[in-house]
Amino acid sequence: MISLKNVHKSYVTGSNSLHVLKGIDLEIETGEFVSIMGSSGSGKSTLLNILGILDNYDEGAYYLNGSLVKDMSEKKAAKLRNEMVGFVFQSFNLISFKNAMENVALPLYYQGVNRKKRNKIALEYLDKVGLLDWADHLPNEMSGGQKQRVAIARSLISQPKIIFADEPTGALDTTTSYEVMEMLKEINAGGITVILVTHEHDIAAMTQKIVRLKDGRIDQIIKNGDLKHFQHQYAKELETA
C-alpha cells in the first residue's frame, strides 16, 4: 500500500534550511494500523503530510498503491487525496459555518455527487458515529469528542483506502480519546489502513505497529507481537519517571 524509499525533506525559511526528514524507508501494508511516534521536531507530522500528499518531498520515492507520488500537479494531488485518503486532525478542522451534515458531505461535493444524495449519505455516516441527532448543529455547538467524530465521519464518507490521523486525541480527554481510538480500531477492522501520529504511549499502544522517529530517521519499528513488551517497557518508563 505504502512504500517510502530514502525520502528527504527540508524546510527553507529565508536563509535557514531545516533538514527534517533524513532518509526514511518505510513499508506499510494494506489493512495495517500504524502509529508514528517521536518527540516534537522529530518529523512525524511532516512524514504524515507527505504520506497524505498534503506536502511534497525533496528526494527519494513514495509509492502509494503502486504508483509513484512525486511532483504531482495540484489538481492531480487533490483528486488522489479525494479518492484515496481521509484526514482526521488534532484541531478537527471542520468548516465553522457548515453544520455537521454539510461538513461530512463536503468530500462528496468534490466528487460531483449532487446535494440531495450526498446529504443522505452524510446522515448515514453521522449515524455510524452516533451523531445523527446532531446533524444540523454547527461545530461550535458540539464538544471536542463530537467534533472529532464528525471529522472521522467526514474522512470516511469518500470510502478511502487510508485514514491519516494527526494527533487525533491531542485535544481530547482520556475517555473521549479512548472512544475515538475505538472508532479508529473499528474502521481498521473494516479493512481500511489507519496511520496516526501521536506522542501518547497509551494511544500508540492500541495500534499494531509503532514507528518511532528520532531526528528525522526511523529509530525503531515495534511490530504487533512486541507490543506487550513495549507496553511493559512503557510501564517501566512510567515507574522510573
Binding site: S45, N49, G52, L54, D55, E74, K75, A78, K79, R81, N82, E83, G86, F87, F89, Q90, S91, N93, L94, I95, S96, F97, K98, E102, L106, P107, Y109, Y110, Q111, G112, N114, R115, R154, S158
Partner: protein
C-alpha cells in the same frame, strides 16, 4: 460556471457569512450610489441652465438700429441709422446667416374679437422668425412667404391671446381687430421653451403698409451658422462691417447699430459647465477609486479569513481551480448584486429629486405668468456610464479577489491548517 451545485455551495456560504457579504456589498453599492448622485446632480444643473438658454435658438443674434456716436468719413455723430427692406435682402444672403427676419415696430396693440379685447404685442416678421425664436405652432400655420408677397392681413395669435379672446372657440379663419384693423387668424402658437405666449405675429410687409412704415425696419433677428465662439464672432463682425459700409458708420460704433449674439453667451456659459462637469468627473472617479480600494481591501481580508477553510477544502480533495472559482464567483455575485442595488437606489433618489423639482417648476410656472424658473432639471445619469462604473467595480473586485485567492489556492494545505 452554471453548475447548480456550485451555486448552491456559494449561496450557502453567502448566507452563513452575512457580515462579510454585507461589508463587501456595501462598499460597492455605496460607491455606485455616490457616483450616481454626483453625476446626476451635475447633469441636472447643466440641463437646467441649458434649458433656460434653449428658449430661443442658441445661435440667435439680434441687430437694432440707433444713433451714431462716432464721427465717420466726415459725417457728424448723432445721425439716425435706419434699416430698410434693402438691408433685409443683404443680410439674408450674407455668408454664415441661416434665418433672417426683420421687424417693424407698430404703435398701439389693442386686440379685439367680438366683446373681448386686450393689450398684446404685435410683432411684424418674416417667416424665418419661427426658426429664430423656436415658435411652436399649436394650430393652423405660421406667417408664410405668400403672406409677405401679397401683404395679406394674416395674424398668428399667441396661445394666451387666443385663450383670452376666443376662450375655447375655433379661431382659425376668424377676424381679429388689431388697432381696429381686421386681421384673419391663420394660426395659434406658443413660444419655444417659454411659458408666456402673449405675442401675435403679422407679416412685416403688411405691418409696414397698414401702419405707414413704408420700407422701414427697426431690427433684425438672425440665426448664424456657427459652432465655435470664433466662428460666431467672425460672422458677427462680418454683419457689422457690411451694415457699417452700407449705412456709413464706424464698425466699432455700438450705438449706431446694437447687436446681441446669444451664441457667445451660450458658449461661455457652457464652458463653465464643461469645467463643472470635468470637476464632477474627477470627484466621481475619486469615489470610484475609493470604492475599488474598499472592495479590494475587503476581498483581501475575506481570502485571508478563508485561508483555513481553503486548506480544509484542499485536504479533502478540492482542486486549486475549484477553490479560486468558489472565491471569485462569490465576489462577482456579491459585487454585481450590490452594484445593481446601488444603481437602483441612486437612480431612485435622483428620480425622486426630479419629481420634486418638476413639481416646483410647475408651481413657479403657474404663478409666474407661465415662465417657470429652475436651474436644476432632469438630474439623471446616462445608463451606459452607470453600467460601466458598476462593471468596473465588479472587475476590480474580481481582480482584487483573484490574486489572493490564487495565492491561497497554491498554499500547501498543511500551512493553511497549521494551528496558530
Amino acid at each position: 460556471m452554471f453548475d447548480i451545485d456550485k451555486w448552491q455551495e456559494i449561496f450557502a456560504t453567502i448566507k452563513k457569512n452575512k457580515m462579510r457579504t454585507f461589508l463587501t456589498g456595501f462598499s460597492v453599492a455605496w460607491g455606485i450610489f455616490m457616483l450616481m448622485i454626483l453625476l446626476g446632480s451635475g447633469n441636472g444643473l447643466s440641463n437646467g441652465v441649458s434649458e433656460n438658454f434653449m428658449r430661443d435658438a442658441v445661435n440667435a443674434m439680434w441687430l437694432w438700429s440707433g444713433r451714431t456716436s462716432i464721427p465717420y468719413q466726415g459725417l457728424k455723430e448723432g445721425r439716425d441709422i435706419r434699416f430698410t427692406n434693402a438691408d433685409y435682402d443683404v443680410l439674408k444672403d450674407l455668408e454664415g446667416i441661416e434665418y433672417t427676419s426683420g421687424r417693424y415696430y407698430i404703435r398701439g396693440n389693442k386686440f379685439s374679437y367680438g366683446n373681448e379685447y386686450g393689450e398684446y404685442t404685435a410683432i411684424t416678421c418674416h417667416p424665418d422668425l419661427q426658426d429664430v425664436e423656436n415658435i411652436e405652432i399649436v394650430d393652423g400655420r405660421f406667417i408664410n412667404q405668400v403672406d409677405i408677397n401679397q401683404t395679406r392681413k394674416s395674424v398668428v395669435l399667441g396661445k394666451d391671446i387666443y385663450d383670452a379672446l376666443f376662450k375655447d372657440k375655433n379661431a382659425i379663419g376668424e377676424y381679429v381687430r388689431v388697432n381696429n384693423i381686421p386681421f384673419k387668424v391663420v394660426g395659434i402658437c406658443r413660444e419655444g421653451g417659454g411659458t408666456r405666449h402673449r405675442n401675435a405675429y403679422i407679416p412685416v410687409s403688411t405691418g409696414q403698409k397698414v401702419f405707414n412704415g413704408s420700407n422701414r425696419l427697426h431690427n433684425f433677428a438672425l440665426t448664424i451658422n456657427a459652432t465655435t465662439l470664433e466662428e460666431s464672432q467672425a460672422i458677427e463682425q462680418r454683419v457689422r462691417e457690411t451694415m457699417a459700409r452700407k449705412h456709413r458708420f464706424d464698425t466699432a460704433d455700438e450705438s449706431a447699430m446694437g447687436s446681441y449674439n446669444k451664441l457667445e453667451d451660450v458658449i461661455q456659459t457652457m464652458k463653465i459647465f464643461q469645467a463643472i462637469k470635468i470637476f464632477i468627473w474627477i470627484i466621481g472617479t475619486g469615489t470610484l477609486i475609493a470604492g475599488v480600494v474598499g472592495v479590494s481591501n475587503i476581498m483581501l481580508i475575506v481570502v485571508k479569513e478563508r485561508t483555513k477553510e481553503i486548506g480544509i477544502r484542499k485536504a479533502i480533495g478540492a482542486s486549486p481551480s475549484s477553490v479560486i472559482g468558489l472565491v471569485l464567483l462569490e465576489s462577482i455575485l456579491i459585487t454585481t448584486v450590490a452594484g445593481y442595488i446601488g444603481l437602483v437606489m441612486g437612480t431612485g433618489l435622483m428620480e425622486l429629486i426630479n419629481l420634486v423639482v418638476e413639481k416646483q417648476y410647475e408651481v413657479s410656472a403657474a404663478t409666474n405668468g407661465g415662465n417657470g424658473e429652475t436651474i436644476f432639471r432632469n438630474p439623471t445619469v446616462d445608463l451606459g456610464v452607470a453600467m460601466t462604473a458598476t462593471l468596473l467595480l465588479v472587475v476590480a473586485g474580481t481582480i482584487a479577489g483573484y490574486i489572493p485567492a490564487k495565492r491561497a489556492a497554491r498554499i500547501k494545505p498543511i500551512e493553511a491548517l497549521r494551528d496558530e
